[in-house]
Every structure is written in C-alpha cells, then in structure tokens.
Amino acid sequence: MSLRSATSAVFRRELQLFARRKSDWANPLMFFLIVCSLFPFAVGSESEKLKLIGIGVIFVGALLAAMLSLPRLFDEDARDGSLELMLTSPEPLAALILARVAALSLALGVALAAVTPVFALFYALPYDVAGMLALNVLMAVPTLLLVGSIAAALLVSARGGAILTAVLVLPLTIPTLIFGASAALKVLYGESPAAELALQAAFMLLALALCPLAAAAALKISTD
Amino acid sequence: MMWDSWGAFWDMGGRGFFVWGSYGALAIAVIAELVMLNRARSNALNASHENHDH
C-alpha cells in the first residue's frame, strides 16, 4: 500500500513537473527537429537518398533528444535536496527510480513518437514506415532512459556529467538502434519486422529488470 | 631460411607497408605504454618521498 502511494507520488510529481515547465519537453523536441532538418543539407535532397538515410537519422535524433533529458532524472533533485527524500524513503529505491523513469518515458516517449511521423515526411518515407518508426521510438525511449538512469545516477552532481553520460550510455544503446532502424527498413522493403520487434521488446524487458537495481546501487554510491 | 634475401623479407610479397605498419603500430603502442608506466611510477615515488621527508 505504502509502496504504491510512494511510487505513484514519484510518478505524479514527474508528470506535474513536465506539465508545468514547457521547456522540459519543448527543448528535446526542438533539438530533434533541428537534428532531423540538418542532414538533407549535408547529403542532398534527392528523395531516394533521403529515404535511405531518413530512418537512421530520425532514430539517432530521437535517441539523442532523449539523452538530453537524462540529467533531469536526478540532478535538479540533488541540487534542491529533494533527492534526499527518495534516498531516506523506507520504500525500495529501485522501485522509486523505476516510477520516475516510467513517468519520464511516458511523457518523452509519447512526445517524440508523436512527432516522428511528421519528420518522416521530410525524408519522403511512406506512411507504414513512418508508423513503424514511431512505434520503435516509443519502445526505444524507455530502454534508453533505463540504461541511462544508471549513468545519470553515477554522475549526479559530477563535473562534466552531461558529456560523460553520453560517452557511457550511447555505446550501450547500439542494440536498440539496430533493432529499431532495421524494423523500419524491413517495412520499407516490404518484409515482416516481427523479429526486430520481438528483439526490441526483449531488450527492453531485460533493461526493465536490471537497470533500476543498478541505478539504485549507483545512486547510493554517488550520494554516499 | 624461407626468405630469399633480406629485401624479400622486408618487402613481404609487396605487402610490407601493411605488415610492418601493423607491427610498428604495436611497437609504438607498447613503447608508449611502457613510458607511461615508468612516468607514473616515478611520479608516485617522488610524491611519496616528499611526503616522508616532511
């Protein structure tokens, strides 16, 4: 009972903060938009070429945009002291972190997935590919945030934290990137993306099972 | 001796650049690591001795 009220309080607070501070979701979306609109200038605007790079560009852009939100998981709380409320709670820290990542994934994942099909139009991608891409962005954002929460927890209030978080997290997201982009490519070539989706889901479940525990251990290490 | 001459040895069947480039890269890496090992050791020893003198 009290575990449920604690996790739901964490979840609700994260969404309240999202609703109250527009920049928290507007900035990642703008970043995503700008990244996606830069590439055609570099590679040219023939629609066949754009189609091929579009999937990768959009997917990497979404991952980077989600990465930018990692510091907000713990940094602000560490600064104003409310992180101590989580650390001194009688409830398991891993569950609280999971609630927090879940709320952030929901808000950010939905926002990024919602604009993904629009950006797909920039790259002349057909509707079904755009839809598959959006679905995979929706699945990839929680995975990235789960893996990233470990690094974010380790680097709470560390110097150079943001860059180092990227160095630590980005290599670990390669499977997500491979499965997500391949699923969309398969649809583009008219094949079934079932295998990719299953692997993507499996990787997400693995992250779901392990990452909150590791992030809790990480947070205890960095705040001790 | 399986090589006709030292020239043939260095030439490596026309692939000398790649073969010796590889071994050269290894040598550079190993030497660099050894230099760093020794530098770190002497820094640590200097700091340690200063510490003891005080």
Binding site: - | M1, S22, A25, S48
Partner: protein
C-alpha cells in the same frame, strides 16, 4: 587522523586466505610476479615472431599479409579477456569491499584499451589489402570498437571522482553494466551484419597450417604475460600512491 586503513578496514584481513587481498602482503609478491611476467613476455615474443616470420609458410589465399594476424588476433582476444577480468575484479570489489580488487580493475583498463586500439589498427591494415578497404562494419571489428568506447568510459568515469572510493565503486558498477552488455552488443551487431553485407574472409578464419597456429598461440601467451606484467606494474604504482602514509610501504620502497 592517522590512517590505519590497511589494518582495520579490510574486513577479511584476519583470515589467512584473504591475506593477499591486503596491499601490504601483496606488494612484494606482485613485484616478483611482475618481473617473471616481463621475462616470459619477452621470451615468448621472440619465439613467436621467429616462428611467425621464419617457420610459418606463406598463406595460399592471402599471401604474406596474413602475418598480421599473429598480433591482430591476440590483441583482439586480449581486449575482450581484459574487459572480462576487469568486470570480474569490479564485481569482487563491490561484493567483498576489498580495495585491491578495485585497484586491479583500474590497473587493467589502460592495457585493455591499448589492446583494443592495436586490434583496430592492425585489423584495418590487414583489411586494406584483403578486403580492399581499411574498415568494414564486420561484427568483430565493430564490437572491438565498442569495447574501446567502454574502456574509455570506464577510465573517464573513474577519473571524474575526487573521492577515490566513490570512483572505485562507480567505475566498478559501470564495468559490470558493460560486461552484461558486451555479449548483447556483439550478437546484435552480428545479426545486423548478416542482414547487410558480410565479409567472407576473416582474420584467422581460413584453414591455417599448424605452424601458423603455433605462432599465433605463442604470441597470445606473450600478450597475456605482457598484460599481466603491465597491470601489476600499474597496481604497484597505485599502491604507492594510495598508501603513501602507511609504514609498511616506507620499508618496501626504501
């Protein structure tokens, strides 16, 4: 304020089987082991290179350039093995709280990163004449590259903490996270690779003459000995840095 760490903080200091987990006991032993490993590394390298260049025949398929694999394959293996060893020591450190385990882990990382770089450079130099290009997105090369990123991340993380103990445990955790991810990354890259294009010829994959294999294995053991020696050297340096005020050290390095 006197530091009495080495006596009081190793939880297991009293038990004989943990005796070597204490830096004071380990220091002289490590010194002897290090010298032995340098000698073994030097001898095996000489033997391995002799076999590799003067006994092993020319490869029918690849010509002379295959001789790069005598160092490329051992370096790639070492990059992987050292990462696993690092993760092992990190896990040991987190579970048992022994400082020496963390130090072992730190001591291995630079050598592991160096091995990854050597594997990548030699792989490219081998690939140019064989595949016609310096780089292919082959599963093995790609995962060696990612392994290099993980090494860099580990070392950067360890260096970003002013509090050594925090840095120890934080980097140990990331080493473990990386170790769980390495196989996942390897298999997903491999799977991705089969979807796109595969390279048919791989370093060391064509049928090898017995002498070629011997040269490669001798070089592998030489690399092992080298890695152990370098790690022990670094370990002893760390002991000197961290135990600056311990009295046993003043005796040991006089």
């Amino acid at each position: 304020m006197a530091r009495t760490e080495s006596q009081s903080h190793d939880k297991f200091a009293g038990r004989w089987f943990w005796r070597y987990a204490s830096p004071a006991a380990f220091f002289p032993l490590a010194g002897k082991l290090e010298k032995l490993c340098w000698v073994i590394a030097a001898v095996l390298t000489a033997v391995g290179l002799y076999i590799g260049f003067f006994v092993a025949p020319t490869d029918a398929q690849q010509g002379e350039v295959y001789r790069v694999i005598f160092i490329h394959v051992p370096a790639a293996w070492m990059a992987m093995v050292i990462y696993l060893a690092m993760a092992f020591w990190s896990g040991t450190g987190l579970v048992l709280g022994t400082r020496l385990s963390f130090m072992m882990s730190h001591a291995l990382a630079p050598t592991g990163a160096m091995m990854a770089v050597v594997a990548l450079v030699t792989g490219s130099l081998w690939g140019r004449p064989t595949w016609g290009t310096y780089w292919v997105w082959d599963a093995r090369l790609t995962s060696t590259l990612i392994l290099f990123f993980l090494y860099v991340g580990y070392m950067a993380l360890a260096a970003s903490f002013d509090d050594k103990k925090k840095g120890d445990r934080a980097s140990a955790l990331i080493a473990l996270v990386g170790a769980i991810n390495v196989p996942i990354i390897y298999f997903s890259v491999k799977w991705w690779n089969t979807l796109h294009q595969g390279s048919s010829v791989r370093p060391g994959s064509s049928s090898m003459a017995a002498t070629m294999l011997t040269a490669m294995m001798v070089m592998t053991f030489a690399f092992w000995a080298y890695a152990i020696a370098a790690a022990l050297h670094r370990l002893r340096t760390q002991v000197i840095e961290r135990e600056r005020e311990a009295s046993w050290l003043k005796e040991a390095i006089k």
